[in-house]
């Protein structure tokens, strides 16, 4: 090969390589890929963010907190951000799926409820790994046109009542065990020992003939109510009831005598993300007035940043979402990381579903 040809070849290769690198960096700089809950990437507030920041947002939805780890364990660098609940955040940190968040780049982090920003679940070895976004409860819900006011359920026992046979649903999640434990009067639902877990399992197996279907996504529960299949179930407070109200299906949420679980979701950054710039833009948007009220208005969940919420919510909404009432949050059984016990919970729940 002549020298000239060699040189030409070399420069062509270099140029091709350079243009590839350029193209890929230009492509990846302007986007953020979320692995999140339905409603956390809704156009009602994300569209404006996309226009202002130049960051294209794409989202994949999960149906349960147990879906985050498998998706990340499969690898591939597909996602930039995830939004697990407070019982799952620690696992993400310990498994090395997420990276530290530089709070100096998130100026309004200090405005977040201290109970959340200092929570053990998102702080590890003195570093911050999550930006609290939203919180709420797991209340129960029933159809008011099928269950009369006089009969209005107040206890979890209603979910074991044979008169609702075939009209009961529960979330396809380990939280079913929390429900079963509480109905039997066991309140330390996050520290169940093997005996208590077995009892909860047996209680759920006893309930199976009454259950129409275990719901796995928000959309599925809405369909089950709308199609007349289900009259009573647990729900993501504020979310499905709003969607059902739009469809003119009359439902009412209630906090049972046995108490309700509480949850708090945080945005976390997936380790090795190539889209750091957009990720931080998204984090800042999420806890601003735009993100907080965007989330609350669409989902019906409470906001993590009371300063922003105060500015963008009406006083009625602010009160309704318990933003001025920290005691309410304390009354909820806030989800906690189950640690190595998680395996026993998921195994018990699988055993319930497998049982005849």
């Amino acid at each position: 090969m002549s020298n000239r040809v060699k040189k030409l070849l070399k420069s062509t290769v270099a140029m091709t390589a350079a243009s590839c690198i350029f193209a890929s960096s230009a492509w990846s700089a302007g986007q953020v890929n979320l692995l999140t809950w339905e409603g956390y990437a809704d156009d009602s507030f994300v569209k404006q963010f996309e226009e202002e920041s130049g960051c294209e947002v794409s989202a994949t939805y999960v149906g349960s907190n147990d879906d985050f780890a498998p998706k990340l364990a499969a690898g591939g660098g597909v996602y930039d951000m995830i939004s697990p609940s407070i019982d799952t955040t620690k696992i993400m940190i310990e498994a090395g799926f997420v990276e530290e968040i530089d709070t100096s780049k998130v100026p309004r982090f200090s405005e977040i409820y201290e109970k959340f920003s200092t929570a053990d679940g998102i702080n590890h070895d003195g570093k911050v790994y999550g930006v609290p976004f939203s919180w709420g409860s797991i209340p129960f819900m029933y159809r008011t046109d099928k269950i009369s006011e006089a009969d209005a359920p107040t206890s979890l026992k209603a979910l074991w009542d044979p008169k609702y046979k075939g009209k009961i649903s529960l979330w396809d999640d380990k939280s079913s065990l929390y429900v079963a434990a509480r109905v039997m009067g066991t309140m330390n639902i996050y520290e169940l020992n093997d005996t208590e877990l077995d009892a909860a399992k047996a209680k759920l197996i006893e309930q199976k003939p009454l259950v129409r279907k275990y719901w796995s996504t928000a959309g599925e529960l809405v369909d089950l109510y709308a199609g007349g299949e289900v009259w009573i179930s647990n729900t993501w407070g504020g979310y499905q009831s709003n969607l059902l109200a739009e469809k003119n299906i009359p439902v009412k949420e209630f906090i049972p005598e046995e108490g309700a679980e509480g949850w708090m979701d945080s945005w976390m950054v997936v380790k090795g993300t190539a889209n750091t710039e957009c990720v931080y833009k998204f984090l800042n948007m999420a806890i601003s007035e735009h993100g907080q009220c965007g989330m609350s208005n669409y989902n019906g969940y409470s906001s993590s940043n009371p300063v922003a919420a105060k500015k963008c919510m009406s006083p009625e909404q602010f009160t309704k979402l318990h933003q001025d009432d920290p005691d309410y949050l304390d009354s909820l059984l806030l989800w906690v990381n189950l640690g190595a016990r998680l395996e026993h919970y998921t195994n018990a729940w699988n055993a319930v579903k497998s049982a005849n």
């Binding site: 147990d66 498998p70 364990a73 380990k174 796995s216 199609g227 299949e229 055993a351 497998s354 005849n356």
Partner: protein, 289 residues
């Protein structure tokens, strides 16, 4: 180049793409799965190891063989019902329809649903069988029932019904092929010898079409055995099947080793069924010769 060498090279050229495909996309993944089945679950994920704990767990914890038995029961029911519907239809097409065009039309009518996504067809059954679905509305408006019933959807009945509907074409196709191949003079000879039609069917038609039925039933059994969509869409609390357990192990439980061990068990069951059916199909062929 010598002719033999050239032939050999040509053979390699033709065969190597499919062989490579099988190696990369089938054998290596099976091997990886087999390796994983000996790994050890360790919170929060799992680590490489060589131990038989996962297989021991499958044997000791009743939840796994309960689900395996249920899956087998549902698969057998689907295979039998598909055959009971598909075989008479194929028989009717081959022996009773005189017009070729009519036969082609009816054959297509069975095959066409295969062009529609499985998901969509399963979903459609929901709108038919639901509490406020088409079937219930019909039964209530005609006065057969005074109020809608829950018994059609979200149970094993709706799963067997949906899966049978989906797998009937898989019986019709091979049954049709094997019935069509039966030499007509055998049946005519039987008739000439004064044998009644039913007897002719039992001693000639059915044995000679057994390979087709066996092939069809094997396909519908194996596909049902690995199905996880029907339990999600139309199954109820008692509809959890083995593929759902595997999904749960690879998903929520984050126990890939146990999921891999379950997959291996499933693979063994399916391969056993296939080799048994293969033997049956070959025995049918021998009778023709």
């Amino acid at each position: 180049m010598r002719l033999q060498t050239r032939k050999r090279l040509a053979a390699i050229g033709v065969l190597s793409p499919p062989l490579l495909w099988a190696l990369v996309f089938l054998f290596i993944p099976y091997l990886i799965m087999f390796t994983y089945s000996f790994y050890l679950k360790k919170f929060p994920t799992f680590e490489a190891a060589f131990q038989f704990g996962n297989y021991a767990q499958l044997l000791l914890d009743p939840q796994y063989y309960q689900v395996l038995l249920r899956t087998a029961k549902i698969s057998i029911m689907v295979a039998i019902f598909s055959a009971l519907l598909g075989y008479p239809f194929a028989y009717f097409l081959v022996f009773k329809i005189r017009s070729n065009r009519m036969r082609a039309l009816l054959y297509m009518a069975v095959i066409v649903p295969l062009w529609v996504s499985y998901l969509l067809r399963a979903y459609t059954w929901k709108t038919i069988l639901g509490s406020e679905g088409i079937l219930n509305s019909f039964l209530v408006t005609t006065g057969i029932l005074d109020k809608p019933t829950d018994i059609f959807l979200y149970n094993q009945f709706s799963m067997v019904l949906t899966l049978t509907y989906i797998y009937v074409p898989f019986i019709v196709m091979p049954a049709y092929a094997s019935l069509e191949k039966i030499p007509r003079n055998l049946i005519e000879a039987s008739k000439d010898l004064g044998v009644r039609p039913l007897r002719t069917f039992w001693s000639i038609t059915l044995p000679l079409s057994t390979p087709g039925i066996a092939a069809g039933m094997t396909i519908s059994f194996c596909l049902t055995f690995g199905d996880f969509i029907a339990p999600i869409l139309v199954g109820g609390p008692d509809g959890f099947m083995i593929a759902n357990v595997i999904t749960a192990q690879f998903g929520a439980a984050l126990n890939w080793p146990l999921g891999a061990a379950l997959s291996i068990v499933m693979l063994v069951v399916v391969l056993t069924i296939i080799s048994l059916s293969d033997r049956l199909q070959r025995s049918g062929k021998l009778e023709i010769a």
